[in-house]
Amino acid sequence: MVFLGGQVLPGNVGRAILGPFADQRAVDALNHSLGVDRPLLVQYGSWIWNFLHGDMGTSYVFRAPVAPFVVDALGNSMKLALVAFVLVVPIGILGGVIAALNFNRPLDRIISLGGLSVTVLPEFVTGIILILIFGVWLRWLPIAAAWPKGAGFFTQLYYLILPSLPLFLVLFGYIARMARSGMIEALDSDYTRTAVLKGLPWRTVIWRHVLRNALLPTITVIATQTGYLIGGLVVIETLFRYQGIGSLIFTAARGKDFPMLEAGILTIGIVYAVATLVADFLYSVLNPRIRLGAEQ
């Protein structure tokens, strides 16, 4: 089954780029209305062709090539996403593991319920509340992610903490929940019982037997969250006035700057595809069963 999953996923990725964006192209073409007398497919083809050659078109609003804007924005977004990921992956997994080890005890309830509650809240709601607490009342962190020009690594990091927190909260719930259920399943399994009965110390059992098996599904979840993360970025970057790919798409959509919009969306599609592929690859490297399956 797992092997099948690995086979199906890359196929979907291709479709994820082509199918929806062909649609979107049709939608946009409608808006362009005039100047689109070529067949849609030809137009789409030449647009893809140009895109692959680094020509993303010319922005209607800025009267300048789109590419530099997109590249800059993507870089900024990646910084933000990276901060969120670096924070959430270890903490989320840790939270899930702790919850599972305290299964059905108060600590488990707190982590599970807390994680679930923050996960279901829209990012801008948690964002606003966090801004109020840390930016307005405590004045610990800046409320807009706009650092002075030429700021160093740590200054940038300082400005990125607050914007990354809402993303952190949403992802924390998902990751912790997956890690928790994976752990509970592994703790309940025969091999764990064997290891315990064999007389191995509890610590060794957890590290060598339980964790390894428990964290595999978590990795897949983390990868599938890339898609979510992109949607989240649109909101967060708007809220914090951060010049990322999300706010680029948002501004382009508002200003009906179609070349910019298309380039932004296609970039996101590529990022998403790459992330899914990497996750797939990582998963098969970590899971010996898949490696065997692929060779057979």
Partner: protein
């Protein structure tokens, strides 16, 4: 599954503990004892009452501006303070539940109807129909709702109908997937074979025979989707692509007031944010309760 003989629309009244209950009575009974469900229901009902009757009991007209008293902090005559146009924040928060509680449920209903029909068809016919439609649905699900909505709304213009349709259609694939897997299990059962032997048409078998038996997973999925629909509507309104001014909608209020947050006018956004948070968590508690009741 013995639910075939119980009309789905008519849940049996909750019987005393000793009496034998119909499957639906069982579910109602376990719901009435679930703290999660009742808490969520209480929160949800509170906002429904506000949406229906709020207009009649709020102290001020939520749309009446009073520039002289703009941006006054919370006090006895304005419990939650006033916004930049001097409108009473308390009244706006109460009445602000109206639009989101119209748009989100309608979107969910649309998603449920479309998703159920689609899921029944692909689950029942399987084969090539299933393969093609499922791949398309997966591709569709890979794009974040915010992005789909953004594109559709740019193309179609902003109106409540557009928001309902966009959210409804982007959630439909998820419901279709749930229904499909339920149908796949059902179609192998004897009663379906019996229907086929009676030469019942495909439509009859799908909608009259199978549908009543897959209601539980549909109900669970629908309540979960309602939570996400509220999330999506709030987010879109915040982005300016959802509910439009002068509605006192929460997301919209936050988006028009958060720019001044640095000036310390916290009351203009905090209560709206908390309102969204409470509604989303309430609906998710209900969904959690419903899920538990059907799976115990």
């Amino acid at each position: 599954m013995s639910a075939t003989d119980t009309p789905a629309s008519l849940p049996a009244p909750a019987a005393p503990d000793s009496a034998r209950r119909s499957p639906w009575g069982e579910v109602l009974h376990s719901l009435s004892r679930s703290g999660t469900f009742l808490t969520g229901l209480f929160i949800l009902l509170f906002w429904v009452v506000c949406a229906l009757f709020g207009q009649n009991f709020v102290p001020y007209d939520p749309l009446a501006s009073d520039i002289i008293n703009a941006l006054t902090p919370p006090a006895a005559d304005h419990w939650f303070g006033t916004d930049q146009l001097g409108r009473d924040v308390f009244s706006r928060v109460i009445v602000g539940s109206r639009d989101i509680l119209t748009v989100a449920p309608l979107a969910t209903i649309l998603a449920t109807i479309a998703g159920t029909a689609l899921g029944l068809v692909i689950g029942y016919f399987r084969g090539i129909v299933d393969d093609i439609v499922s791949r398309v649905l997966e591709a569709f699900m890979a794009i974040p709702v915010v992005i789909i909505a953004l594109l559709a709304i740019v193309a179609l213009g902003t109106s409540k109908i557009t928001v309902i349709v966009v959210i409804g259609l982007s959630f439909a694939p998820i419901i279709a997937r749930t229904v499909r897997s339920a149908v796949l299990a059902e179609r192998e059962l004897d009663y379906v074979a019996a229907a086929k032997l009676r030469h019942e048409g495909a439509l009859h078998t799908m909608f009259v025979e199978i549908l009543p038996n897959v209601i539980p997973p549909i109900l669970v999925e629908t309540t979960v989707r309602l939570g996400y629909a509220i999330f999506a509507v709030a987010t879109l309104s915040f982005m300016g692509f959802g509910i439009q001014p002068p509605s006192p909608d929460w997301g919209l209020s936050i988006s028009s007031n958060y720019g001044m947050i640095g000036g310390g006018f916290w009351w203009t956004v905090l209560f709206d944010a908390l309102a969204i948070a409470s509604l989303v968590i309430g609906v998710n508690l209900v969904a959690d309760g419903v899920h538990g009741a059907f799976n115990d």
